[in-house]
């Protein structure tokens, strides 16, 4: 009899809290979004699964001795996992379109206004009851506007680890929603004639420029913004390995096995931060709302910057490509291409949008460095 009692006490049924049950549903929703809706499945599937595991009563996944505890301690607390992901992303990134059209860096800069406006917005939200974001919290939330997963996770783990789960979920969800969020804003801010503008073909960029570019980025970053060097440095290392042409086996491993292994662990560890006490609060609603604002503002500022540049440029600029400045590589560039095609069936903007798109990755890594310097 007593043994049955022990078994019953060891079932979760006897120990479930409402919060844990609710968080399991959150995890299930993330799995649904990943598998059925194909929302950034590489991340949201492990995050959702991690959220389920982390909220199982009596299983102890997130306590010392539990697997998620170790993975979080090793990879997120130290910042190593997002940096490895960023190295892999660097190894997958082709800066050719940006080098062919350096002006598009300005679009990647303008779109970061989504980040800084959201920081202001988060502090402003404190005027409402139930919100009490510190400056660090606000900075961590605002990075959602960077539309870049590893950057958001890295910054949140440094500034506001308690909000990490919600921030990562918001960042990846909105990145998946880019095809829904961006087009209305892009269309509202442009005329059909503007959207139909064709751009000149990009010049071919040689290997030497591509090899020197990540080194130039690193040099500027280390001189002017050393707090951004972990992110930018690892990104540039990946890109250098890609372009150097002498370490292809390292570059391929960074793009494939290493980033895959890290992604599984990173996702689980992020999911393990989705606890009821942190996630089931009005703050999370605030984070989701602010994230949407961040994406919208970033998109709008990119487009408006592109319109401004078009006015002063000799060669034609289609303002749509400004929207790609938020990064969300390569989704945002594809959206630009699609909206451009709608306006003009022979207008292929994909390569033109890749420039601001990768510029947006650098821009948000730089913005993260600034936030670390100012509020870290």
């Amino acid at each position: 009899m007593e043994r049955w009692e022990v078994l019953w006490q060891s079932t979760a049924l006897s120990a479930f809290t409402w919060g844990q049950a609710a968080m399991m549903i959150v995890g299930a929703v993330l799995l649904y979004l990943a598998i059925v809706k194909k929302f950034e499945p590489l991340l949201l599937l492990p995050i959702g699964f991690g959220a389920v595991l982390a909220n199982i009563p009596l299983a102890g996944f997130t306590e010392p001795g539990g697997m998620l505890y170790y993975i979080y301690a090793v990879g997120i607390d130290t910042g190593v996992f997002p940096l490895l992901i960023f190295m892999g992303v660097g190894a997958m990134t082709d800066f050719g379109p940006l080098l062919a059209n350096p002006r598009t860096l300005l679009l990647g800069a303008a779109a970061q206004f989504g980040i800084f406006a959201t920081l202001f917005g988060a502090i402003a939200l404190n005027g409402l009851p139930g919100f009490a974001f510190s400056l660090k919290d606000a900075a961590a939330i605002s990075i959602i506007g960077g539309a870049d997963g590893p950057t958001a996770i890295f910054l949140a783990s440094k500034l506001s680890p308690d909000l990490l789960g919600a921030i990562a979920v918001a960042a990846y969800s909105y990145m998946a929603l880019v095809p829904i969020i961006q087009p209305p804003i892009m269309k509202a801010l442009t005329t059909k004639a503007e959207r139909a503008v064709k751009m000149e073909q990009l010049r071919q960029v040689g290997r030497r420029e591509k090899v020197l570019f990540p080194l130039a980025v690193l040099l500027l970053t280390l001189l002017f913004l050393p707090t951004a060097t972990p992110l930018v440095g690892m990104f540039c290392l990946g890109n250098l390995m890609r372009e150097a042409g002498v370490v292809d086996r390292l570059s391929k491993t960074a793009q494939n096995e290493l980033i895959n292994i890290t992604t599984i662990f990173l996702g689980l560890a992020v999911g393990s931060k989705l606890s009821a006490s942190e996630f089931l609060s009005v703050q999370t609603l605030g984070i989701l709302g602010l994230g949407a604002v961040a994406f919208a503002v970033g998109t709008a500022s990119g487009v408006l910057m592109a319109k401004l540049m078009a006015r002063f440029s000799k060669s034609p600029i289609n303002p749509l490509i400004g929207a790609a400045g938020v990064s969300a590589v390569p989704m945002a560039a594809r959206v630009v291409n699609k909206v451009g095609l709608e306006a003009n069936q022979s207008n292929f903007l994909l390569m033109h949008a890749m420039g601001p798109n990768v510029a947006g990755v650098l821009g948000s890594a730089v913005a993260a460095g600034i936030l670390l310097a100012l509020v870290g």
């Binding site: 860096l105 290997r207 420029e209 913005a367 100012l374």
Partner: protein
């Protein structure tokens, strides 16, 4: 609250200015690179490089291509045999 709002506003301004300054500097660096490091474009070497670094997507394509080839060869084999 007022104070915190002001601080956030000031971070917003400082941050955007710094982002722009930084990326303008980078743009200048790119123009320098273009002037001093640009090389006549070599179509062949680039094409080869692209072929040499298959992404996972490409290797999936390979599998499909392989399947297509297999099918094609079988078809030929069949035609050939029936032709004899």
């Amino acid at each position: 609250m007022q104070e915190q709002l002001f601080e956030a506003f000031s971070i917003m301004v400082t941050g955007m200015v710094t982002v722009f300054v930084f990326l303008v500097l980078l743009m200048a660096a790119m123009l320098v690179l273009k002037r001093f490091a640009a090389e006549p474009f070599d179509a062949e070497s680039n094409a080869m490089k692209a072929a040499a670094t298959p992404t996972p997507i490409q290797s999936a394509d390979d599998t499909q291509r392989l399947a297509a080839i297999t099918a094609a060869v079988h078809a030929y084999r069949h035609d050939h045999e029936s032709a004899e």
